[in-house]
């Protein structure tokens, strides 16, 4: 009985993960190779050409998603690193208060805070409407429906996921190590570049992983802030699945997206010299 305990404890979750995580991936792989339509049904024809067709049709959106996701990730890193640095080294006794303030947006739903940006940035809203009223901006000035709005929204929405892991890594850096470097006549810049920065790289790695993947696959920011000219791959997959009912194309695109992201993660891990991606991500 005692030997069976762990298996009994794990059984419900195993079943859940098997039926609703593993089997759906197999189902999606199968659907991506089928042909047919929503009315007459789909049949397995092993049409690997579905992938070629889907990628051919939607490569602009796929590339755009990777570019937007990448730009947002770089922006988050540039904006977030100094914040994590200051809280970790100078936050003193109020570190947890600052972290709590950074996490405040998470108490408002993702969709709602993106809509609030739509509110704030609307062409004649409280911000631009007022400035236009004062004649400080031309009447046709707008931010919504631009690349800037979408990348900005992505940056905004995922920023805390970049700051937190970097903060955790920096918090573990012993200030005496930095002092030692300075005692040995390293300038402040050199101490940062040669001591603090390398020690924070695992945090940067985790932060990039936690933000690039969801930002690239996000359909909400493009839908709410992007207008019609900034459609990302997430929007296409949603439309193909839910509006056009073209399940094979949508499945092929989902797999392509996942494959591209996985390859990206491994190339990135190699470049940073991290041997074990799983281990680094778990930290």
């Amino acid at each position: 009985m005692r030997r069976l305990t762990p298996y009994l404890l794990a059984l419900p979750s195993w079943m859940w993960l098997a039926i609703f995580l593993v089997v759906p991936m197999v189902a999606m792989a199968s659907v991506s190779l089928q042909t047919g339509n929503a009315i007459d049904g789909f049949a397995m024809t092993f049409s690997f050409s579905n992938y070629g067709d889907a990628i051919g049709r939607y490569s602009p959106q796929l590339v755009r998603s990777l570019v937007y996701g990448g730009l947002a990730t770089v922006a988050m890193l540039v904006i977030g690193y100094p914040v994590a640095y200051w809280i970790a080294f100078k936050g003193g006794t109020r570190k947890s208060v600052y972290l709590f303030l950074l996490l405040l947006p998470f108490f408002v739903s993702f969709v709602l805070r993106t809509i609030s940006w739509n509110f704030l940035l609307s062409d004649n809203g409280i911000l631009f409407g007022t400035l236009k009223g004062w004649g400080l901006l031309p009447a046709d000035f707008h931010v919504l429906a631009t690349t800037f709005a979408v990348v900005g929204g992505l940056t905004y929405n995922f920023l805390p996921f970049m700051i937190l892991p970097i903060y955790v890594a920096l918090e573990r850096v012993d200030p005496r190590v930095v002092e030692a470097a300075q005692d040995l006549y390293a300038s402040r810049t050199a101490a940062f570049r040669r001591v603090v920065l390398p020690l924070s790289l695992p945090g940067v790695f985790a932060g990039v992983l936690m933000t690039f993947v969801p930002a690239t696959a996000d359909p909400i920011n493009a839908a709410i802030l992007g207008g019609t000219a900034n459609t990302m791959i997430g929007n296409i997959i949603q439309t193909e699945y839910l509006t056009n009912l073209d399940y094979p194309t949508a499945s092929a695109l989902s797999f392509t997206l996942m494959a591209v992201l996985l390859v990206g993660i491994f190339v990135y891990a190699r470049a940073l010299g991290t041997e074990n991606v799983l281990e680094a991500a778990a930290r």
């Binding site: 999606m28 303030l101 405040l104």
Partner: protein, 262 residues
């Protein structure tokens, strides 16, 4: 310390506050426009203060239904997730068994799969199996994406437990169930509660996965996205404000309680 150092620190301090203000500004807008006495259809310019939308909070019936669906789905999926997730967390944190490596991989895979791919694959399963989509498929999906978070928080707590405590209880004649209820469960409770709050928050917030598996059931986030084109009514701001307030209060109460426990 040199003068430039102190100036640099002060600038970084200021910068940190600017980022916090930037992050909070949409929240301020959301709360403010829940009090806007708007006359026209759109709610994007300030037209005076009113408490009308708080009084008429439940006047839009399909929005109220959506909010109720969201809360019921979050409650049910959290209960299921916490029960099965705590069990797996105990197994992973305490026991050695065959398939542990695969289990860890699946837990990690469930966290790192993009929501979009998860939603799309679940819909592929339901379409292939002709499963009708309604609140039960939403609950199943929410349990899936919350499960790993409960497992990870509970496991983190379990590994810090001293097994000698449980052995002592057994030696003193407690049954296996009695040991679990009176010794193990109370000590892992903070992890269980953290996991429960996390899965509840993930559930009420979810748009992407839900949009694939909802059928004709509408949740709060889905309703809001559907209303973007026609204009968001102020009641949405009020509901968002209330959820925000309750969440912040719970978080603060939790932090205070944790500090008291030392």
């Amino acid at each position: 310390m040199s003068r430039t150092t102190r100036l640099g620190d002060r600038l970084l301090h200021l910068y940190t506050w600017l980022v916090i203000i930037w992050l909070s500004s949409p929240i301020a807008v959301m709360i403010l426009f829940g009090f806007n006495d708007k006359q026209s259809k759109s709610n994007t310019t300030w037209q005076g203060f009113t408490l009308r939308w708080y009084a008429e909070l439940f006047d839009i019936s399909d929005l109220t239904v959506a909010l109720r669906n969201t809360l019921v789905i979050a409650l049910v999926s959290t209960v299921v997730t916490v029960v099965i997730g705590t069990m797996l967390g105990l197994a992973l944190g305490r026991h050695r068994f065959r398939g542990k490596g695969v289990t860890n991989f699946l837990v990690f895979a469930a966290i790192s799969t993009p929501e979009l791919v998860m939603g799309a694959s679940l819909l592929s399963l339901f379409v292939s199996g002709n499963v009708p989509r309604d609140s039960s498929t939403i609950i199943v999906s929410h349990v899936l994406f919350s499960l790993s978070f409960v497992v990870v928080t509970v496991r983190a707590r379990v590994v810090t437990l001293d097994p000698a405590l449980e052995e002592a209880a057994r030696d003193l004649g407690a049954t296996a169930w009695g040991t679990f209820r009176q010794v193990t469960l109370p000590s892992i409770m903070p992890g269980v509660l953290a996991g429960a709050m996390l899965s509840f928050a993930l559930s009420i917030d979810d748009y992407v996965v839900t949009s694939f598996v909802n059928g004709s059931t509408v949740t709060f986030p889905l309703w809001i996205v559907g209303a973007v084109k026609t204009g968001i009514p102020p009641q949405v701001n009020v509901m968002g404000t209330l959820i925000f307030g309750i969440g912040v209060l719970i978080a603060i109460a939790n932090a205070v309680a944790a500090r008291r426990r030392g």
